[in-house]
């Protein structure tokens, strides 16, 4: 019960009846959506949901922890390729794709633990941490790009260079009678939506817990946090691992969704986009991050239909505008404005 109380607190916007009523309404609408939308739109929404995990992870690392990681796509890619290799080799029977999902997210977390150890225990911070993480994702991209030859295979799984790895099975849940294959359709929609809601609520509890208190303290003043007796390196490392595991989860869901992954998913453009989603939404709050990521992803996709080059330029302009107009995020700015108005009302009535 006490844990549930942490669903709202000083580190998250939105509390009380109005917020949770709105939350319930949004979840209800999301649940009802497949009843009204066609198969393409449902699958397309799953695509948006896939990226949301990476956005939430980056919000945790950057917005709450104050550490800008520019290379979350490295964990996305590592988990995606790991899922491909395991599932192509072992197939989709007996729930092995679920095992592949867990193992792939664990691989991303392991990479984050190794990289994060050297970064945080080596006291690398600020812009240098951004440079190192960006370098890691670009190195992985270049490495995977040169794996086109037939010698680059892990068992039956061809890495395939820039052509990308394909042919891996979709996530499959073992079930009595016949397995449930999570194609980009209604089943996958509900599976991903349930995961997203669970992650969002779990992260709300985490950031409002004692751990979250220390995390924002490190963001605000790392020296003071250390001088309160906290080993800030450990907190930063744990946060980095959790955030990167979420990026890994995005990678697995994306790969399973499209049965395909390419080195471009770890390239410069891919690495920059999560920064835009999270910055535009408002990195220091999970809800604004989620809303911002969905809006920017939808906008980006709509623009891409008319011309991919314009879409990237608009994304860049959006980031610059956010930094200049609302450094804490456009959605965050709107959210705090609404909260201020709601909080003012009872006072006026009382006067």
């Amino acid at each position: 019960m006490k844990t549930l109380g942490l669903l709202q607190g000083p580190q998250t916007l939105g509390k009380g009846k109005p917020f949770w009523s709105a939350f319930t309404l949004v979840v209800a609408l999301a649940c009802a959506y497949p009843l009204f939308a066609d198969g393409y739109d449902v699958g397309n929404n799953v695509y948006f949901f896939n990226w949301a995990f990476m956005a939430l992870g980056l919000s945790l690392i950057w917005g709450y922890g104050g550490t800008l990681s520019f290379g979350q796509t490295a964990f996305f890619g590592v988990a995606g390729y790991t899922y491909g290799v395991i599932s192509i080799n072992f197939g989709d029977a007996y729930g092995l794709t679920i095992f592949a999902l867990v193992a792939s997210v664990a691989a991303a977390a392991l990479l984050a633990a190794a990289l994060g150890y050297f970064l945080f225990f080596g006291r690398i911070s600020g812009v240098f941490l951004g440079i190192v993480t960006l370098s890691v994702t670009l190195v992985l991209e270049r490495f995977m790009a040169q794996t086109a030859g037939p010698e680059w295979r892990v068992g039956a799984a061809r890495l395939n260079g820039y052509n990308g790895m394909g042919g891996m099975p979709s996530l499959t849940i073992p079930w009595f009678g016949s397995d449930i294959v999570l194609f980009p359709d209604v089943q996958l929609y509900y599976f991903t939506l349930a995961l997203l809601i669970a992650c969002y609520l779990g992260l709300r509890i985490l950031v409002n817990s004692r751990f979250g208190n220390v995390l924002v303290a490190i963001r605000e003043n790392p020296q003071r946090a250390e001088m309160l007796g906290y080993d800030i390196r450990v907190y930063q490392l744990v946060t980095f691992i959790i955030g990167s595991a979420l990026a890994g989860l995005s990678g697995v869901l994306y790969t399973s969704w499209g049965n395909y992954i390419t080195p471009a998913s770890m390239g410069m453009t891919a690495a920059a986009l999560p920064i835009v989603w999270v910055a535009v939404g408002g990195r220091s709050d999970l809800t604004t991050t989620l809303i911002g990521a969905m809006l920017v992803l939808a906008g980006f996709q709509a623009l891409t239909i008319h011309g991919s080059q314009y879409a990237l330029v608009v994304m860049g302009a959006l980031l610059v505008l956010t930094v200049l107009i609302a450094p804490r995020g456009l959605v965050f700015g709107l959210g705090t404005l609404v909260a201020a108005l709601v909080n003012r009302k009872p006072k006026r009535q009382g006067e």
Binding site: P10, R210, N213, V214, V216, A217, E220, N221, Q223, R224, A225, E226, M227, L228, G229, Y230, D231, I232
Partner: protein, 239 residues
């Protein structure tokens, strides 16, 4: 009995000898002020004690244990606490949250709220508890940081110019706070320039000059020492 000792403590920054073989003992229960002109090495000695710098040579003992190579957070966990010269608070968080972060590490959850309320009252910040810490007046920020340092229930409290930028009233109130803490058993080591404040609180005063201990004694002995007056007037070479 000494709660803190430094033995032949040296710190070089390149060719600059900032701390020159300092042998210093701080007795348990004492309020001890470190004074000296700018560049005397007070802040460096402070940072060495805190573990922000590692000494080039020498030893630091806390409660008889060698902490020379201990990390800063480990020293804090052993019972040392610090208040910085520039208020080291979490500006974007509320006053209450600042104190909660300081206290939650050692305070049982059931007692946390009551402990925070007691501390807010002691700091005269009960009214401001929901304000963002960054919006407090300068003096209130200093008090909040003292509260965060005290919230750790330290046995040794380090204060780096605790009254910097305060009004005379705030300075006097801060002196009373420090004396109240001392009566509760906290040993205090303070770097301070304000001699009225030093006179108000100090049991003992150490004068640092060119990284070495230049004089030591009660405030009256130090004030009467012509050599000390000379270095504050910039004539140390003849002192």
């Amino acid at each position: 009995m000494a709660i803190l000792e430094t033995r032949a403590l040296n710190k070089w920054f390149g060719g600059l000898h900032v701390t020159g073989g300092v042998d210093f003992a701080l007795q348990r229960g004492e309020i001890h002020c470190l004074i000296g002109p700018n560049g005397a090495g007070k802040s460096t000695l402070f940072r060495l004690i805190l573990g922000e710098h590692l000494p080039t040579s020498g030893q630091i003992l806390y409660e008889g244990n060698d902490i020379t190579k201990a990390k800063s957070f480990e020293r804090i966990r052993r019972g040392i606490s610090v208040k910085f010269q520039v208020p080291g608070i979490f500006k974007a968080l509320s006053v209450r949250q600042n104190l909660q972060i300081a206290l939650q590490h050692h305070c049982p959850p059931a007692e946390l709220d009551g402990e925070i309320d007691r501390l807010l009252e002691f700091l005269k910040l009960t009214e401001a508890r929901h304000q963002l810490a960054g919006n407090l007046s300068h003096g209130q920020k200093q008090w909040l940081e003292i509260g965060m340092a005290v919230g750790l229930k330290p046995r040794l409290l380090l204060l780096d110019e605790p009254t910097a930028g305060m009004t005379p009233d705030e300075t006097a109130a801060t002196g009373e706070m420090v004396q109240a803490l001392n009566r509760d058993g906290v040993t205090v080591l303070a770097v301070e320039h304000d001699m009225a404040f030093v006179r108000q609180i100090a049991h003992k005063v150490t004068v640092l000059h060119f990284g070495k201990i230049f004089a030591q004694g009660t405030i009256n002995e130090i004030v009467a020492d012509e050599r000390v007056a000379a270095i504050y007037l910039g004539d140390a070479t003849h002192a």
